[in-house]
């Protein structure tokens, strides 16, 4: 098992490097960082000076190799824009984004799993139809639009929650809801189909024949089986929350990694963008790994082959 985790960990790092390589070349193809740093009105001379100072006159492969060499020594370079080591910049803001991602996941679980379970236990009832309606509309609604509507509803019309900043827990309520809502449809549907399938399984009939009814039946026999696939999807969704933070943090003016990513992309701050992509890729792959490990821990058929 340990060997398996180690191998999967190595695989994760390999994936992260591949992603960073692709990102590096695409970024440099799309923008001219020297021009971006100098500003749009700068003279050609200034741009060239900057290009030489940051080493941007070197060929791309050499620059990637330099960046890679730095990363292997634990040095992600210095931000062109903030004039600070990128690692420091990311470390400062990571906490905010982790808080946002975890609270968003909490919102997803709180809405999706009970809704899915109710729908499954009463298939084709009105609860089921409402849940399906929620799922379809949540899937169709874009994140930024939901964010704006939330701001209008709970920030302007009924000013219950603050709509900008990250000072108190109250600041996280609306963004967590917006970010969490995007995962509700997938998780709810999976809970519903999983539980419907499990409730029709032979071992549930066995449990009934032993005298277990509704509540105990669900708690003791159905939920663990039904939630197995849900848990791995939740782990993957948590990885996606980091990527999703780009839009949500910008809307709610939260100083996290997502907003940092947006700003550094706009400013062609390549060292920062590179590190963020690297971190997001590692988080995503690590969450997939966590999903596999959780599944193995909960399902003896995987744990004990």
């Amino acid at each position: 098992m340990l060997k398996y985790i180690l191998l999967r960990g190595l695989l994760a790092i390999a994936v992260a490097f591949t992603v960073s390589l692709a990102a590096f070349f695409l970024l440099n193809a799309a923008t001219d960082p020297a021009q971006a740093i100098a500003g749009e009105d700068a003279t050609q001379e200034v741009v060239e000076t900057i290009r030489a100072r940051y080493g941007l006159d070197q060929p791309l492969p050499v620059r990637y190799a330099q960046w890679l060499g730095g990363v292997l020594r634990g040095d992600f370079g210095e931000s062109y824009y903030w004039h600070k080591p990128v690692a420091e910049l990311v470390a400062e803001r990571a906490g905010t984004t982790i808080t946002l991602a975890l609270s968003a996941l909490f919102v997803t679980i709180l809405i999706a799993i009970p809704l899915g379970a109710f729908a499954a236990l009463n298939p084709n009832s009105w609860i089921d139809r409402v849940a399906l309606g929620v799922a379809v509309s949540a899937q169709a609604v874009p994140n930024f639009w939901l964010g704006l509507i939330m701001i209008i509803l709970f920030g302007v019309m009924m000013p219950i929650f603050p709509v900008s900043g990250d000072d108190t827990w109250r600041h996280f309520v609306l963004p967590a809801f917006v970010l969490g809502a995007s995962s509700v449809p997938a998780v709810m549907r999976l809970t519903r189909t999983g539980l419907i399938e499990v409730m029709g399984a032979d071992y549930i009939r066995t449990a009934r024949s032993k005298g277990f009814r509704s509540g105990a039946l669900l708690r003791r026999h159905a939920l663990r089986n039904a939630l197995l696939p849900v848990i791995s999807v939740l782990a993957v969704q948590l990885g996606q929350k980091f990527g999703g933070s780009v839009i949500t943090e910008s809307i709610f003016a939260i100083n996290g990694l997502g907003r940092l990513a947006l700003e550094s992309i706009l400013g062609a701050d390549i060292p920062t963008v590179q590190m963020l992509i690297f971190v997001f890729a590692i988080v995503f792959v690590a969450m997939n790994l966590v999903a596999d490990i959780l599944n193995a821990a909960l399902d003896p058929r995987i744990r004990i082959g």
Partner: protein, 612 residues
């Protein structure tokens, strides 16, 4: 003996999109303490539904009427919660057909055995554990302590069924319901489980309801037998009396449909038609449309209950009216061994090794599914390949069909190596028939398209010639040509298997390879298919390789037998010599384990004429 269970006029209706399905109609059952009742019937007869109604395990939408008394308590008056608390597990317990899926995969055996007893306060956790250990030991699970910590997937099917039995007995129920407890198991395991159930029943003085489609099992294991058909109980009585002197035409026909191991193989008494769907219950007798002795009054009103408490049936015929059917003529006086016949398919030194890995990086495992087997199918003969699950018989069949190439060894068809044959040439020589007619036919094609498919593949593009050949094939398998435009979902299992045979025969192959051709079918339908295969073989001079686990089917159809165990051929020879004097221990064990149906050996009580 005191009455334990009394079910009166039980009816179960299931509302379906297409109307009401009358799954059980007006069934009454009485069971004394310590008695074993067998409920026999084909699929859709309502036998499981009756038991599920008693256990309150019916689907929520099912409507149920009738009265149930257990030891004097009226069960119908109890709420679900009261019933679960007072009866389920404590007084009535049930084991199911599918041991592979009936245990929860994510909990240990120990937890599943003890949880109900602890949860409902019958035992302390320590006492429950002690009782579970003792029961596991009693049902024949070696090293119970270690097993308690294991998960279901670490146990074999037979062991899981033993665990299910132990679980049902935790609270010493007075009644055990066993719904097809051995159908999913291998023959040798089946016999052990049935013996175990019989022993436990005697030891614990428990009553039992054994639900099965297998008349041989019922004859051996029960005191009384109830025969169900189309949701109704059409005959009921002591096991001896029902088996030796069946009084209802359906029971009579069913008994002649069972392949027997004694005497020469006879033509099986196939019941024409199919089991009815019960959307609209008939006014008269449910069996009338398929009955050989049907009279006008059968269609008018439901037949009365005739007979006495020891043996009764729902049929208008009195004992005197009912012709006693003479045994059918033998189809072969003896198994004629085809000597020196030309080899149609010859397999030499076939070895098939499968390698698998545990996970992405785990170590390699080698499984020798077939290990150095040589087997020849001669022209015009039926060769039965017998073995239990995992013996490698289906793998060998695939290789002999030329569908997969063995790791080593050669297959020759009519003297030519199969590797040199183009797929179309090979397909013209040999055709397969698979076990499950429900999944082996493409549901999106009409029967005409399915049957004509091999012709299309061979590039026969004259539509009229194709249509003619398709009609011929339909006629060969005794299906009406009007069905050609139906889809597989619109016809019954037996009809589907006929379509599969028609598809196999449309190119006029030399040989058929039939993999468990009847094991997914009911007894009466199995009889139709076995008879059909026998007739076709005589008409067309086909060679057949029949793969089966059922010794009675072997006796019915085979000229020669080959027995496989763990990938090796342990015995091969003429059918009679192998069945009468098996030379390998394993064959002898298989024969001893096969439930044998010999109603003549049961002493029939003198026939009595009585009125309802």
């Amino acid at each position: 003996m005191s009455k334990l269970l009394e079910i009166n006029n039980l009816s179960v209706t299931l509302p379906l999109p297409g109307g009401q399905l009358h799954a059980v109609r007006d069934v009454s059952i009485t069971l004394n303490r310590g008695e074993a009742l067998g409920i026999v019937g084909e699929s859709g007869s309502g036998k499981s539904m009756s038991a599920l109604a008693l256990m309150r395990l019916l689907p929520q939408r099912a409507l149920q009427t009738g009265k149930m008394l257990f030891d004097g308590t009226d069960l119908t008056g109890l709420s679900d919660a009261q019933y679960a608390q007072q009866f389920l597990g404590h007084r009535i317990a049930m084991i199911f057909q599918e041991p592979m899926t009936s245990l929860n995969p994510v909990y240990t055996i120990g937890r599943q055995l003890t949880e109900a007893a602890v949860q409902f306060g019958s035992y302390t956790p320590t006492a429950a554990r002690a009782r579970a250990l003792a029961l596991l030991d009693r049902v024949g699970i070696p090293d119970p302590k270690a097993r308690m910590a294991q998960y279901p997937h670490q146990l074999s099917g037979g062991q899981r069924q033993r665990v299910m039995i132990a679980m049902a007995l935790m609270l010493e129920p007075e009644l055990l319901i066993a719904d097809e407890p051995t159908t999913a198991l291998d023959v040798t395991v089946q016999a052990q489980i049935l013996d175990l159930l019989a022993d436990l029943r005697r030891e614990m003085g428990m009553a039992m309801i054994l639900i099965t489609h297998d008349l041989a099992v019922v004859a051996e294991q029960t005191d009384r037998v109830a025969v169900m058909y189309g949701g109704e109980m059409i005959e009921e009585g002591t096991a001896k009396s029902v088996m030796a002197a069946p009084a209802h035409p359906y029971t009579q026909a069913l008994l002649t449909a069972i392949p027997r191991m004694d005497g020469p193989p006879r033509r099986l008494g196939a019941i024409p038609g199919t089991v009815p769907s019960l959307m609209t219950p008939p006014k008269g007798c449910v069996f009338a449309p398929r009955c050989g002795f049907v009279r006008p009054d059968c269609l008018e009103a439901r037949p009365p209950q005739l007979g006495d408490a020891d043996h009764q049936r729902r049929c208008v015929l009195s004992d005197a009216d009912r012709p006693t059917s003479a045994p059918a003529a033998p189809i072969r006086t003896d198994h004629a061994e085809v000597s020196g016949g030309e080899a149609v398919i010859a397999a030499r030194d076939i070895t098939q090794v499968f390698t698998s890995r545990k996970g992405m990086f785990g170590p390699k495992h080698e499984i020798r599914a077939v290990d150095g087997v040589s087997l020849t199918l001669k022209r015009g003969e039926t060769l039965a390949l017998v073995g239990e699950s995992g013996s490698g018989k289906s793998t060998l069949a695939r290789i002999m069909l030329g569908l997969s190439l063995p790791t080593s060894g050669t297959v020759e068809m009519l003297g030519r190596p199969v590797a040199d044959l183009a797929p179309l040439e090979r397909a013209a020589l040999v055709q397969p028939i698979f076990q499950d007619p429900y999944s082996s036919l493409n549901p999106r094609r009409t029967l005409a398209e399915i049957i004509a498919r091999p012709l299309t593949l061979r590039g026969e593009d004259d539509p009229e010639a194709c249509a003619a050949k398709t009609r011929d094939a339909m006629e060969m398998v005794r299906l009406p040509a009007r069905m050609l435009h139906s889809y597989p979902s619109q016809i019954s299992g037996g009809q589907r298997q006929r379509v599969a045979i028609a598809r196999a025969l449309v190119t006029r192959p030399q040989a058929l390879v039939c993999d468990e051709p009847t094991s997914a079918l009911d007894v009466s339908v199995q009889a139709q298919i076995l008879n059909l295969l026998d007739e076709l073989q005589t008409e067309l001079g086909l060679s057949c390789l029949v793969i089966t686990h059922d010794m009675a089917v072997v006796h019915q159809v085979a000229d020669r037998v080959a027995v496989m165990l763990n990938g090796k051929l342990v015995e091969e020879g003429g059918c009679d010599s192998v069945l009468r004097n098996p030379s390998s221990d394993y064959t002898a064990r298989l024969l001893a384990a096969a439930p044998q149906f010999r109603p003549d050996e049961m002493t029939a009580p003198p026939a009595q004429e009585a009125t309802a």
